[in-house]
Symmetry: C2
Subunit: 325 residues, 2 copies
């Protein structure tokens, strides 16, 4: 049994917890929290909730620590810190800062002889894997990533910060026409606006100026101004009834040629009922890989691009060759 | 530059040759043939055609030998033999015999300190990778592989062996209704007949009994009797005009749950204008991996499941992390 600790018990931490139950070779040993441990009720019977401070002794009886924190402020500090003590996994997803984060985790993990897998999940994660395989096999080609239909938590949060907004949910939606053009292998040039639309469901506070809210959303730089955005005002009851899930997904489509006029299209797509549960499942498979790679003497920072597929599977190499190859 | 030798110059050998031209870090050094080398005209200027017998000295100036032979009679002997002398790649695709072939190549390659990557291509190959990733991330799930629409060379050959058949092309076609059911995540039970249909285009010899040919096809055990098969008789000109390509493709679809009622669907699909050119492109990416893994001191038999994605890419680890992760 691979002994897992989870640090952080938000949506992602609960997703990891659910994933562990689906993997017979894994055991959740402890959930670590920065809150008062006695205030936290978790979904697994008999598992201890401990203070995050306990981890700092480096003496917790876990094989891998899965760090379920935010990329903006939690992970840049946490992952290097705990990579100096344990094998760790995170889902760091601020693309621009990945090289720095990798270097920091690498230094700490190498010194400690541990493995630190960063940026696991689906994007970065499974989508990254798909982009690299496709580009390696069809280097004379072009890749497109589409997201959705799904809830973007960053965009939902941005809408919630607008004055007069009580609650909000933002869906990112790929444009069907763009998907079709890419799938045809025609390698179209697509602007941001041509690839995705955005749809917002907003609960306004009593007496709020809805027209002003709609304008504030549609003109918000970086988040909405480059997109065609639709805004719907709904009631709190409708929000709860129709928008309480966190579905997501998308496609990586790569098309290229191998000789004059000989085209190939590779597509990897995900349709996810729950973004955090799927992300948690990827983190758990990576935890298995980290445990095994470390047992074999490897250390330092890794990403999914550095992990051979067989390391992620609970099945033996013989079984994989006989039944999955 | 990674120096490549190609053994065998049929459709697949030419596909590998085309792929090498798309990879700036690769150089085709020699094509080896069991025919008279002077009888072979290849598509790359300035590359020597040599006798396959030359390889047996173990002194050819190549980093990797890509063996483009058939799985039935060529590869079981050739791959272990040459893995004792060179880093080798093959596309062995007789699924039931993979464990034996792996063991034979492993023994030879380990003794020689070389790498032998077997069963590369798209199935086995890219589809195997997709099956293993999906099963690792969603172990509580079910996988389905669909092939086509595309030309099955084995089935085309089987039809050609029927008396009165001058030429034949067989297309494997996935059943749209089955694809839809699987994509919905409903995990349907599907019989062989429900998953694929088969369509044959046949040029009959003058005076042949077409009804007898059609019956012989439709009742052929293993190949056709478990499928709904359509047979069209066409002229030699139509065959040449409409069926000279070797398109193929298919989908690996895996759906599973992470908690009660929370479903996810993962799909990897290929739409290929040329089966041998795409397969050749995968073999070339694997040649790069073999070269690098061997440089790092690894040896023995490997499959795509044992290769971290980054080894396949011509791009550096830093570039991959910065732009593809």
């Amino acid at each position: 049994m691979i002994k897992i600790g989870i640090l952080g018990y938000g949506n992602l931490g609960r997703g990891v917890e659910a994933a562990i139950k689906k993997n017979a070779d894994m055991e959740l040993v402890s959930v670590y929290t920065r809150r008062d441990p006695s205030s936290l009720k978790i979904n697994t019977e008999g598992v201890e909730v401990r203070s995050a401070a306990q981890l700092e002794q480096g003496k917790e009886d876990i094989d891998v620590l899965i760090i379920c924190g935010g990329s903006a402020t939690d992970l840049p500090g946490m992952t290097p810190k705990f990579a100096a003590l344990y094998n760790v996994i995170d889902s760091f997803d601020t693309h621009a800062n990945i090289p720095t984060h990798f270097a920091n985790v690498d230094a700490a993990a190498k010194k400690a002889g541990k493995i630190g897998i960063i940026s696991a999940g689906w994007d970065p994660g499974m989508f990254s894997i798909s982009r690299v395989y496709a580009d390696s096999v069809l280097p004379d080609g072009q890749a497109y990533t589409f997201w959705g239909k799904g809830v973007s938590q960053g965009h939902s949060d941005a809408v919630r910060r607008i004055e007069g907004v009580k609650d909000a949910r933002q869906y990112t939606i790929p444009v069907e026409k763009a998907l079709e053009a890419v799938r045809s292998g025609s390698n179209p040039e697509l602007t941001t606006r041509e690839k995705h639309t955005r749809e917002c469901f907003v609960v306004a506070e009593d007496g709020a100026d809805k027209a002003a809210i709609e304008t504030a959303i549609k003109t918000m730089p970086n988040y909405f101004s480059d997109y065609d955005t639709t805004v719907h005002f709904i009631t709190e009851e409708e929000m709860k009834r129709d928008h309480s899930g966190l579905p997501h997904g998308g496609s990586v489509i790569h098309s290229g040629t191998t000789s004059d006029g000989v085209k190939h299209v590779i597509e990897y797509s995900l349709k996810l009922d729950s973004n955090p549960e799927f992300t948690g499942s990827v983190l758990v498979a990576c935890a298995r890989a980290a445990y095994r790679m470390n047992k074999e003497g490897m250390n330092g920072a890794k990403t999914v691009l550095d992990i051979a597929p067989a390391y992620l599977s609970a099945k033996s190499a013989d079984e994989l060759r006989a039944h999955y190859l």
